[in-house]
């Protein structure tokens, strides 16, 4: 039967794009499989993963352990490294064959290259950087009750709506929008790393996960880009997403940026955390971009976020406002950061932070 993206009833199942680089799976794969498991259970359908590479079938159990029922493995030397053309062609074939209702992709640099191309080719909708996925209306309304300012119970809702409701921030997080793709399938969504929670690993599921070896058909004439080399940069990657404590610096350190960063590092070290930075600090070249927190940096949700000399522009807030506890130090009492802070100190960070370091040491019994 010809593939028809508008024939909603022909599509079933939740599928996750499983990205591997150099034979290693990405953390988003596990996060999305975990999330996909919940969605698949709500729809009572199969959760599959599609995995491309060269001889990567060995990675199947790892994916199964987080909840996948079956992995569609596409092996070919031309798939060892990512190229848009090869991956788009193969995954299009897979989707034409499998017809999943929902297709999830991790929003890595590669995912964000691949997903839109696929959506355009498949003539379907794609929603980027989703922070929340719901199918069942009751669950969705529960989410809205705590996650929005809407008077949920005063409003009319179509309770039988089973579209995938994809919620994402816009305008730097000031606005949230729930998007649906009602007329086309698969309904596609990308999710940023660290946003969804990984389920506990289940050995039994890992062993039970099935493998489908897909018949890869690639036409070399259609592969218009060539990877000449893949280079890993040796620098220490700052793990903002995994950190429990982040001590971030902003423009307030301008008078002596290196001293400011050193102070933040010292405080972070005592508290067992890492240093983050606002975009202004990164753009000024005082610290590398992997420390950047915010709309164009990373979105973080640590247990403690300490903002030093950060004014709290919308773009920065969007990247950290969901932290469990936010402490802000700024010499301007009217700085917007205080609107999201749980505790604020109006003061000169050059004086306050050394005292914080001492107090932190005392608290930690150091």
């Amino acid at each position: 039967m010809a593939y028809d993206c508008t024939d909603l009833t022909a599509f079933e199942g939740v599928m996750v794009f499983c990205e591997q680089r150099g034979g290693k799976l990405m953390s988003t794969d596990f996060e999305l499989i975990s999330e996909g498991r919940k969605l698949a259970d709500e729809r009572s359908v199969e959760l599959t993963g599609v995995l491309l590479g060269d001889g990567v079938e060995g990675l199947v159990p790892e994916l199964g352990g987080y909840g996948a029922d079956r992995i569609i493995v596409c092996n070919d030397p031309r798939l060892a490294n990512y190229t848009t053309d090869a991956y788009a062609d193969v995954i299009t074939d897979v989707i034409h064959t499998e017809k999943p209702e929902i297709f999830l992709v991790g929003a890595s640099n590669i995912g964000r290259d691949l997903a839109p191309r696929l959506a355009a080719r498949l003539h379907t909708g794609l929603t980027a950087d989703c922070t929340h996925l719901d199918i069942d209306m009751n669950k969705y309304l529960d989410f809205l009750r705590t996650g929005s300012t809407l008077k949920v119970d005063d409003m009319k809702w179509k309770m039988e709506d089973i579209n995938l409701k994809m919620t994402r921030p816009a305008f730097g997080g000031h606005l949230l929008a729930t998007i649906i793709c009602p007329r086309f399938r698969p309904c596609m969504s990308t999710v940023r790393p660290g946003v969804m929670k990984k389920a506990p690993f289940d050995e039994a599921r890992a062993a039970a996960c099935k493998t489908t070896l897909f018949d890869v058909k690639l036409d070399d004439a259609r592969l218009k880009t060539k990877v000449l080399e893949v280079v890993k940069e040796a620098r220490n990657i700052v793990d903002l997403l995994g950190a429990e404590v982040i001590v971030s610096v902003g423009q307030g350190i301008a008078n002596d940026p290196q001293k400011g960063i050193a102070m933040a590092q010292e405080l972070a070290d005592v508290l067992g955390g890492v240093v983050g930075a606002s975009r202004a600090v990164v753009d000024a070249g005082w610290i590398t971009a992997d420390h950047q927190v915010g709309q164009t940096g990373k979105t973080v949700r640590p247990k403690i976020y300490i903002a030093l000399g950060i004014s709290g522009a919308i773009q920065h807030k969007a990247g950290m406002q969901d932290s469990e506890l936010i402490i802000a130090v700024n010499k301007n009492a009217l700085a917007p950061i205080f609107e999201v802070a749980d505790y604020g100190i109006t003061g000169d960070l050059w004086k306050v932070v050394p005292m914080m370091i001492d107090a932190a040491k005392a608290a930690k019994g150091v």
Binding site: A254, N255, K331, N332, A333, L334
Partner: protein, 383 residues
């Protein structure tokens, strides 16, 4: 005056350039070392700023007096001294070339100056000839051994950028029989000629980072092809050049005042005393209102003057003097108040207003003191 789209685009460009390139590290370095910074000068030249008001056929951007005024305002708003880096070629340095140079001289001198490849300075002032510029004692007399040359002798003082200049426009007495401002001619002096030297760098109150010194000429032989404009009639050009210079200085003062106002407003919102930000006291907010009003009045006078320069109306000399006189005196008042609003912090070098207060002080003095401007204005009134 309501600026048309093109002028608004120009303002946006100047502002973005200044805010991006004139970093606080750079400004602190200029202040600390007092040395000319070639790196930023090259960036200013690459952005076309050294030739804003010079015709495109001579390597410039082809802008008019209003384009130039806006440049001075916006660059000065971030750094008074760096505005002068862009100013000299457009105004006192390039001006005489634009007015009087023949085609050969324009190609040889004006084009590289417009592109920022060479620096030319304005050599009028002398130890004995300040406000009384006509009291020039530098002489340029025909070489008895070679009619194609003049011999220059004399000393110019307070010449901005003399230590880094390639050339200087020198005003020298060529007809000793004529008195006062008559009998003065202009020469383009190559600063590398034998007999030319510069004095020590002056240690100034402000505008640090643009070295100022004397130019000493000891029997310097200058070829007659470097005579600029008509013989014995150079002083008229000096006066004409100063009009544009006054407009530029007025715009510079405007930019400094605007910066001072912004700092004062910001500080007054942050500084909490008696349980509230100090801006909630009318003593402070009324001061800010006065500052803002004076600034706007100066701005409109300056823009109007620029328009009149473009249209070459007959009242241009008085208007330029009025704009310079009013804007520079206003800027000093505004900077004074800005420091006052900052309280003790205004006296501390970490706070921008401390530098603004020192930088602005020269504006009522150079390019014609306020008193000279008053002479020009009253002279026109009482004709």
């Amino acid at each position: 005056m309501i600026l048309s789209e093109k002028y608004q685009m120009m303002r946006k460009f100047y502002r973005e350039f200044a805010e991006t390139e004139f970093t606080s590290e750079l400004l602190d370095e200029l202040e600390e070392t007092g040395e000319f910074n070639w790196d930023i000068f090259h960036k200013i030249a690459a952005a076309g700023l050294t030739g804003v008001k010079i015709p495109q056929e001579y390597g410039g951007q082809g802008g008019d007096y209003l384009a130039y005024t806006l440049m001075m305002e916006e660059l000065s708003r971030v750094s008074a001294v760096l505005a002068i880096y862009a100013n000299t070629s457009n105004s006192l340095g390039g001006g005489p070339l634009l007015y009087c140079a023949n085609e050969e001289q324009k190609q040889k001198y004006l084009v590289p100056v417009a592109k920022g490849e060479k620096i030319i300075v304005f050599g009028l002032t002398e130890p004995g000839a300040g406000s009384d510029a006509g009291g020039t004692q530098t002489t340029a007399l025909p070489d008895p051994d070679d009619p194609d040359y003049y011999i220059l002798n004399g000393r110019k003082t307070f010449i901005s950028a003399a230590p880094v200049a390639d050339w200087a426009v020198i005003y020298a007495k060529t007809d000793l029989s004529q008195k006062g401002s008559k009998g003065i001619s202009m020469f383009i002096l190559d600063m590398k000629l034998p007999g030319v030297s510069v004095g020590k760098h002056e240690n100034k109150m402000g505008i640090t980072g643009y070295p100022t010194s004397d130019i000493i000429m000891d029997n310097v032989r200058v070829h007659k092809s470097d005579l600029l404009g008509p013989l014995h009639k150079g002083f008229i050009t000096a006066m004409k050049t100063l009009n544009g210079g006054r407009l530029g200085t007025a715009a510079q003062a405007l930019g400094i005042a605007q910066h001072a106002l912004e700092e004062a407003v910001k500080f007054s919102k942050e500084r909490v005393q008696f349980g509230k930000p100090i801006c909630r006291n009318q003593g402070i907010s009324f001061m800010l209102a006065d500052m803002a009003t004076e600034i706007e009045a100066a701005r409109q006078l300056i823009y109007h003057t620029a328009e009149c320069m473009i249209a070459d109306t007959p009242d241009v000399p008085q208007l330029c003097s009025m704009a310079k006189y009013y804007a520079t005196e206003m800027a000093n008042r505004v900077c004074y108040k800005a420091v006052q609003i900052h309280g003790g912090y205004g006296y501390i070098k970490e706070y921008p207003v401390e530098r603004l207060y020192r930088d602005v002080r020269i504006t009522t003095i150079f390019e014609g003191t306020s008193q000279v401007q008053q002479m020009v204005i009253s002279g026109a009134l009482l004709k």
